[in-house]
Amino acid sequence: MAMRNSAAIIFFVIVAIFIILGLLSIHPFGDTSDINTSMDDHIIQNTQKETGADNGVTAVVFDYRGFDTLGEATVLFTAVAGVILVFRRLNK
């Protein structure tokens, strides 16, 4: 068990070093000055004209990125089908 704990500590330290090195190079909080924002600007300025929706997030989710929502619905359908399939034998 001591070997398992030491292996866990070594793995934790390695992952922590990688995460800290990654976090040192991110942008400052709330700073968008040096990020490419042309897609965001187009969506923010044209959502109300193109889709007529006031909520831009729903317009993006259901209109601009409809395929993403289709995949999400497929994932939920598969999850429900799997749960009902697994527990059907117990329900009889």
Binding site: G52, N55, V57, A73, F77, V80, V83
Partner: protein, 160 residues
């Protein structure tokens, strides 16, 4: 689980309509205010999960079967993908084309947004919100109900 005390049952049955109305409000106003089909459906499913916890899964399974929930969820999925395929026939002739907005032939949801109170806007988005909301309500409630019923059978020792 054979249900909790009478106080919990009364409070749950009293507060369920308010949770349901709030979730349906979030679904119906998904294109105007924060929220949408998934969020409102999760709220309504949480209310039904509260009923399962308070009244017991056996009592709830007598009222509604998971077969009916599967039918409702499949209806939501068919509505969503059918609205997406209707975009191939009308309007911009694309998959997921928003064909109800910017036209005057069909007077439903065809206006451009004029403030937060005009619900008659945004074309296909309210219908898709409704379809996804039905799907999420039925799906999440079916998961909770089926798992609770099966585990109560395990507790009683009658599972095969």
């Amino acid at each position: 689980m054979s249900g909790m005390s009478k106080i919990v049952k009364t409070i749950s049955a009293t507060i369920l309509p308010f949770i349901t109305i709030y979730g349906l409000y979030i679904i119906a106003h998904g294109h105007l205010t924060p929220g949408g089909g998934f969020q409102g459906g999760a709220i309504v499913a949480s209310g039904f999960a509260m009923i399962v916890v308070a009244f017991g899964s056996i009592w709830t399974m007598e009222k509604i079967k998971e077969k009916h929930l599967s039918i409702i969820e499949s209806l939501g999925a068919i509505g969503f993908i059918g609205l997406a395929f209707f975009g191939l026939l009308f309007g911009a002739k694309m998959f997921f084309a928003n064909f109800l907005v910017k036209q005057d032939v069909i007077p439903f949801f065809n206006q451009i947004g004029q403030g937060l109170s005009n619900i008659n806007t945004a074309g296909l988005l309210p219908l898709m919100n409704l379809a996804v909301g039905l799907k999420v309500i039925a799906g999440l409630f079916a998961i909770v109900l089926v798992m609770a019923y099966a585990t109560s059978k395990i507790k009683e020792g009658t599972a095969k």
